[in-house]
Amino acid sequence: MAQEIERTFERFSEILQDLTFTEVRRWKEEHPGKKSIAYFPVYAPLEIIHACGMLPVGLNGAGDRLDIQYADARFGSFICSIVKTTMEMGMTGHLDVFDGMLFSSICDSARNLCFVFKRNFPQMYVDFLHLPHNPSTSAAADFLESEYRRLQRELEKLGNCEMSPEGLHRAIVLYNQNRTLLQQLYALRAERPELLRTSELYAAMRAGNFVPVETHNAWLEEVLAGVNLRAGKRRDSIRVVIEGSFCEQPPLDLIRLIEEAGCYVVDDDFILGRRWFTEDVPVDGDPLRALAESYVNRAVYSSVRHDWRNPRHKALLEKVKRTGAEAVILLIAKFCEPAYFDYVLFKKELEGAGIPHLLLEFEEKAFTFDRLRTEVETFVESLLFV
């Protein structure tokens, strides 16, 4: 069993590195005529896609597995890697397996990428969701509901299908389960970090981007059962919260490096869209409304979701207290403007509260981390041996 779980994690990391999207192709073969819809981070209402009988697929760039040959000519200097690798994937045919691609109002680079996609890939359904930035108004949920209805209509047109409220209810139940399972794994890792490594949890979570939610739920159950059988041994480590990797993802090796350098990650914002809500999306009442209303009122804080009722810097501090973290690593993608800006208030708040923090910049396409390793090790040592 213990060996089995190791193999499972290996498989997950293979799936998430697979730029040919084998899992998606297989699903399409098994479901002739059905559509797959990719989405650019951070969040998308996967329930709606699922309820239209389509496969939602979370894209997170191409990491170091694709050389940039064409995209640099479209997106020049000072633009983050994920925008370029996503463009490159499109220009090299890697995204042909997808029938559609969704973007949302997270930042200026991603927004322009959406429309560049529209021009360059006219055969694809490309859409932009405006996720509201003013949750203080009651009109926000109305607006978002209409935006979701528009998405529903577009998908129905694309798939020549009809989405039923019952189907959407079922999807919400499935994704609620998915989020609950992920939360359980997150809680387990925070409590018994020796049982579940962050790199493993990360792979298990991200592998779910490429398969139907039912399959992912089964995988996560397996993981939960499997890791509980492990006999881990505690190491001398500091408890850290990782913040800032909500969109472009750090290379798996970098996550491993942080752990090996002596960090128990007790919370993070990796693949945040899969854990978007603080509570279950309600299953009574109109399901589209429930999704919209949950986005506005019961979503996690994030650098791409603006809610001054509960400012992000306060929310980060809350998280640090709740998880008993000793320090924060601000792990930020190079040229990620939302993360850069938020760093200023995060820093101010953390310093005010006397919480040590470390700023690390990464690029998803990086593959050597010597400098970063030294920085993390020095940071950990400074906290362990005081």
């Binding site: 640099d72 000519a73 479209r74 997106f75 020049g76 200097s77 000072f78 633009i79 925008v83 109002s105 997270i106 930042c107 200026d108 680079s109 927004r111 322009n112 990428l113 959406c114 429309f115 560049v116 529209k118 021009r119 360059n120 859409d127 932009f128 969701l129 405006h130 509201p132 930035h133 003013n134 203080s136 108004t137 009651s138 009109a139 926000a140 109305d142 607006f143 209409s146 935006e147 528009r150 603006h306 001054w308 400012p311 190079k334 040229f335 403007e337 939302p338 850069y340 800006f341 938020d342 760093y343 200023v344 208030l345 820093k347 101010k348």
Partner: protein, 426 residues
């Protein structure tokens, strides 16, 4: 006398322009000293300054602060101060210039800026606005109101988009009533909307005059002079009177057959903001070739009126909402910008396009490589791509830009000699 100084037109409107801007700073200074008029921070792009006008509130424009600091060569110090507190080298330099200046007490005129009664973020397109205004609220300990304007995903806003914006406008009014202790004056609001519509009419006609050859003004460099009063006084009688004067002077120039250059050689469309710290040096590079910008996307940040949209005093709320949603370059999608430029090239008879990539501003710059691809490969328009910044003097390499410009104009010259350069050619 440099080519630029010769090219710069100095008429009555320039005196008036200066006076109007000083008048604005004086009102801000008064607000800072006496607490009245109330001051509200907001963004320039697609804003609803008409609503503030109805409260007799004076706008604070952080973008204008940043611009003024940059053009007066005062932006580096506040930018460095901001980086010191944690802003990244690659954050928008406008934000850094403004916030750094605020914390160091630097203002462009040396006068005082009031603490805003409300930090009002009209979120139109640029996501940086949200961050900027959150920081302003935090650092000034002032209340924040976010007005979320849905981005233009298709060609037009939906009726739900419009309803969403209008409802937030009503909530903003309530908030302003609460904070200023003043009642919303509907008649004054309509009057402000009427002023805006008149300003827009004159401004559009001025822009259309650039379709003439020679063009009586430079729609990039000179347009910036006009943009000050446009943003600060659009909804006021002073604005109406100013733009009537400007239109009159421009029409007189046309009647006299006077252009920016005595012999206009090239007509260009400009995309992207200018490098403010090197404004004059940059302009010189155009003047040398007697190259005139006949249209620019940057001059439509505040509003895009040359294609017909006007505020409407008979439908004040709806038209203000439409302005914010649809009729400014910032909230329009990227492909709509391509179309705007394409129309400029055609209808303003331009020979080429200059794309000025500004590292600060991803709203403008992200994807400009694709834009270049569209115009050169798809439409066959001579296009030059330059890189620098709008406020950070560290990113302007004068010699390199000059060389590239010279090479570009030499190329245009050759095509002209060979008879293959057609204005407005597509």
């Amino acid at each position: 006398m440099s080519e630029t100084s010769k090219a710069e037109y100095r008429g009555g409107m320039h005196q008036r322009q200066k006076a109007l801007m000083l008048d604005w700073y004086a009102r801000l200074d008064e607000g800072a000293r006496t607490g009245s008029p109330p001051a509200v921070s907001l963004m320039i792009s697609g804003n609803c300054v008409e609503l503030l006008e109805a409260f007799g509130a004076v706008p604070i424009y952080p973008e204008i602060n940043a611009l003024q600091l940059a053009i007066r060569h005062q932006s580096l110090e506040p930018i460095l101060a901001a980086e010191e507190m944690g802003y990244a080298a690659d954050n928008c330099a406008y934000v850094k210039a403004d916030i750094g200046a605020m914390l160091k007490g630097i203002t462009p005129t040396g006068g005082k800026l009031p603490k805003p009664t409300l930090v009002f973020c009209n979120f139109v397109g640029c996501n940086t606005y949200i961050k900027w205004f959150e920081h302003l609220a935090e650092f000034q300990n002032a209340p924040l109101f976010m007005l979320d304007v849905p981005f233009l995903r298709g060609d037009e806003p939906s009726k739900e988009d419009i309803a969403y914006v209008i409802q937030q406008m009503h909530e903003l009014i309530k908030k302003l009533e609460e904070l200023t202790g003043r009642k919303f004056d509907y008649d004054r609001f309509r009057e402000a909307v009427r002023c805006s519509s008149q300003v827009e009419e004159s401004w559009s006609r001025i822009k259309r005059l650039a379709q003439r050859s020679p063009s009586p003004f430079d729609a990039y460099f000179d347009a910036i002079t006009l943009m000050g009063p446009l943003y600060v006084h659009r909804a006021r009688p002073e604005g109406v009177e100013f733009f009537e004067l400007a239109l009159r002077e421009m029409e007189e120039k046309v009647a006299r057959g006077e252009g920016v250059y005595d012999q206009e050689r090239f007509r260009l469309v400009m995309e992207g903001p200018p490098p403010y710290p090197f404004f004059r040096a940059f302009r010189d590079m155009f003047a040398k070739w007697k190259a005139c910008a006949v249209a620019s996307t940057y001059s439509t940040v505040g509003g895009l009126w040359e294609f017909g949209f006007r505020h409407d005093p008979d439908h004040p709320f709806e038209s203000v909402a439409m302005h914010m949603l649809q009729h400014n370059v910032v909230n329009r999608n990227y492909l709509q910008r391509y179309e705007q430029i394409r129309r400029y090239i055609e209808e303003w008879n331009a020979h080429g396009l200059i794309i000025h990539f500004v590292k600060s501003c991803r709203l403008f710059s992200a994807g400009q490589g694709d834009m270049r691809d569209y115009f050169t490969r798809k439409l066959g328009i001579p296009t030059l791509y330059l890189e620098s910044d709008l406020a950070d003097p560290r990113y302007f390499s004068e010699a390199q830009i000059k060389n590239r410009m010279d090479a570009f104009f030499e190329g245009l010259e050759h095509s002209q000699a060979a008879g293959s350069l057609r204005a407005g050619a597509a």
